[in-house]
Symmetry: C3
Subunit: 403 residues, 3 copies
């Protein structure tokens, strides 16, 4: 990448090495797996276009190393996990989690060749049930892993979802997070259902929203007048750089309650980490942290979860994603999955895209900072390594005019 | 496209914008759907490489507009159809059939931004159960939609088939229409079955044919001596520009009759409109117009339709298209679908390709006319807008020597 | 291909025309089918990137001709096989096995055009149940077809397997043949099962091996001390150019016997011919020649064949090739199929790759000889046309120190 290359918003479509967005992503710790899903078999993962394998050795240490054995290229996905690391199925070369080659059984007993082979590896850390990796330049001295509050909180209950995978550009998902208008349209519900959602997110009275810059990224705040003159109903969401969305509700359970229930607040931080596999695929890692009074909050959640969309599909309806209405997740996939990547769209941004516009500006600045070798927004300087990172999100009633 | 670019026959393989064949096709009205199949859901269609969506609003007007919403690109295929047009699922922007943006509910009530957004749209017309669109330069003042006789005839019976889709180059299908020799070979039948077909289209006595230029394109006439010295049995087919085949029988029902039945004639115009989706896919729209005496002609047809090929497939036969013999449509797919596009073939044209050669010459001239801004063959000048377009086709006995 | 182009090992990844490896392969007779599988239907085959069709006419002669009819390109795979050759389904042009066009029924009776059409064809020969073709420059005077001993032997029993197809680079399979170390690792068995295999191919005591040049290519010999001081247990395999592997056991049946059984020898030549379809696919043709005492050797073999791997797959195991352990063929596919082609690997060859290194050197030399118009290693000069080609392979006990 030429340092002088002018960074453009269309660069966000590309995440490989030596692309502006690819190098920018490599400044951050990215989620690459979950504690509960990394078990006793190696898992091939593609991260930012790089083919890697994630595994936990029998000592419990996690490794993220190149997928292909440096010997003659066979996939370590089929290797054996041992006390010391992972052993290739082809010739039994053994690698530890930092890429050191410990054994080469086919060589003579006194061979030192294994010491000359250093396999690609990236530093890995676990936090709050998620596995983070740092793929940047300074692997020996990586920046601090941010202590995102839902991952480090104590006293509450934490739940990590299974990994979800998507087949479109990561940015389509992320910018949706600072676009509250779509909630009143795409995720519409029966206006007569008596829920807070159908009143607040009403297409005919779309709530006004503010988009504001925050140290971590961008926050959008939608508001409607509250039950008393000095209060308002608020739905507040954030995008934190590089690719994190946080909302103040969990699977929109509070959306289904009557407005009166909102006074209690939701006691939820619902944080979503997006990690691009490549230009056209990403993984989504979701963690919830609940600090409310219900000791069985997560077990009870399954029962309140809306069923998948059951709308009947007409026999002459050949559309790929039907049915989709009635499931927030399906609705998002239909719109985000058909947008095309940011470098392929003919867009007409409106005033209601102010959240999107602000986020793009923040990311462009962050990419520029990364290109210049600085610490981009959302990264943590070493002197603040221990500080908890708080991302704003809220659904409920609060005093008017908070930003 | 450089105006001076020399047009070659291999150009027919490419139909996108700024290709010679693509610009030529955009001089004509092309069939993009059928009345009976365009119901209450939007239908994504790719025409000449452009991603579009076809829909009928609740007023009954048909729109053919860009598939991707001009806002941030989501597919209008998942939009809601309303009285005034189609509304995007993502942010509820509303477009009418001419591409005007009527509403943007996320904007402030006094916003005029919607007036600045004009979405891609093409003029659309219905005729005889088919939906035509004009994708050329002069959308405000398009050329006349030709009044093809099978679509405008009155007093007879008309039948429009369901749309068929094919995954090879449109031209392979079209040039087959002026290649009568293949009928005696590919569509062979049992020589002892007593039908007119097995006598007329006999590989060992292939009928002589003439290929002649017509105002609309090219006609081929195959002949064998008739029952009296001054008559002959004739099978006459035409290709009209840009991509229409017309034959004088319907699903070859008369082929299965004894020769004596041919005296009655077939009373059929079987017209097939080919519309390229892209270089390697096309849609086929078929209409029949019957003017004979049988009031139940089309209902009865189903019973006479030959069953799909049931030839047993040997267990060691791994060929993709097996079985195919016994179905004219399957036989055509096997040969046309394996030819490769015209720009990928190593051909050796023979004297019996005179129909193909004449058609290619006509199309090259028409592409040249289009490139020079003139009216290409098969297009209708405004002063003849009301004239019925008659394409020749005939199967039966008639006076000798008609051209 | 520029004659002066420097040949590199990465060139082995490409086999099309005008590539160094493609032109080198075209110096040899290559297996393209088996006698038992070429029956009464034409078979489309891609060889070295060329689309061809293999058929046997009703006289019994085999043809390998271009897949696409030279007339207008339809696939001859759907043609009719006749006494004189193959007849295209589209217009009935008839071709004999040497590509002569014998008939064009659509042309006038006195047309001589068919004599001007010469279709692509390659010389074909049958030997020992295999069908070989020569795709090189001198089709009129091809080099001798080598008389590989397992194909020409008399008095023994010969068995030809059904064709196997693989979807990775041919070279990954071939170089595995001179890499005996992988046997002790990848094809490991239960060390306590009492078989010769678990003792000889033991990861903790990998046998020493020599790699030696032979007139036909490269041989590797693995050894362990024998039952008497002047004997040794030996497993000897060869790769013959261009792409043949021969081993001295059949489906590793002797591997499963106790060491004591090895004294009898295996009486087997197991020869495998690899033919690239294109850069990423190859076919494998396997013949066995048995000269031992058992008159029912091959019928009995099925019963001794290990079952496919039945290892239970964990519900969270999403790896493509699972299960694979316990089947030598599956194990090979997992490692070879994930290596990536030779031009895409980041390799670190070790001392134990000496067989691979020697083979690569031999092939580079052979490609250079081919490029210079000479007879590459593995080709047979005309004066030795009648000589049997003996490729070394052995599993058993023999005198110490044989090379």
């Amino acid at each position: 990448m030429k340092k002088s290359a002018k960074i453009k918003i269309s660069d966000l479509a590309h995440v490989g090495r030596r692309t502006p967005a690819g190098e920018w992503f490599r400044c951050y710790w990215l989620v690459v797996g979950t504690t509960k899903e990394l078990r006793d078999i190696p898992v091939a993962v593609k991260i930012l276009g790089e083919e890697l394998v994630l595994f936990r050795d029998l000592k419990g240490e996690i490794g993220l190393v190149g997928l292909h054995c440096p010997h003659r290229g066979s996939s370590l996905e089929y290797g054996d996990i041992e006390e010391q690391g992972i052993r290739c199925a082809y010739h039994a070369w053994l690698f530890d989690v930092t890429g050191n080659c410990l054994e080469q059984p086919g060589e003579s007993k006194d061979s030192q060749f294994h010491k000359k082979v250093k396999h690609l590896s990236y530093p890995v850390r676990e936090l709050g049930g998620l596995i983070f990796a740092y793929m940047g330049a300074d692997k020996q001295d990586p920046p601090p892993l941010p202590k995102y509050s839902p991952l480090v909180g104590t006293g509450g209950q934490r739940y990590v979802e299974s990994i979800r995978s998507y087949d479109y550009s990561w940015f389509n998902f992320i910018e949706n997070g600072v676009d509250p208008v779509h909630f009143s349209v795409l995720h519409r519900s029966d206006p007569s259902d008596g829920t807070w959602r159908s009143w607040f997110f009403n297409r005919h009275e779309i709530p006004y929203f503010d988009a504001v810059e925050k140290p971590y990224g961008v926050k959008v705040i939608s508001r409607k007048p509250g039950p008393t003159p000095d209060t308002e109903y608020v739905d507040e969401k954030s995008v934190a750089l590089p690719s994190i969305i946080q909302i103040g509700d969990l699977e929109f359970t509070h959306f289904h309650k009557p407005a009166s229930a909102l006074a209690e607040g939701t006691h939820i931080e619902h944080i979503m980490f997006v990690t691009p596999n490549d230009d056209n695929h990403f993984m989504l890692f979701t963690a919830d942290y609940y600090t409310g009074p219900d000791p069985d909050f997560f077990p009870k959640l399954a029962a309140t979860r809306p069923p998948p969309p059951t709308e009947e599909k007409k026999e002459y309806d050949h559309r790929k994603y039907m049915p989709f209405r009635g499931s927030v997740r399906h609705e998002d996939i239909v719109t985000q999955g058909t947008q095309g990547a940011i470098d392929q769209r003919d867009e007409h941004l409106a005033a209601s895209d102010r959240g999107v516009i602000l986020l793009r500006k923040s990311i462009l600045n962050a990419m520029k900072a990364a290109q210049e070798g600085g610490l981009p927004q959302g990264g943590i300087p070493k002197e603040r390594a221990e500080q908890v990172v708080k991302i704003d999100s809220f659904t409920g009633i609060r005093a008017k005019g908070v930003f």
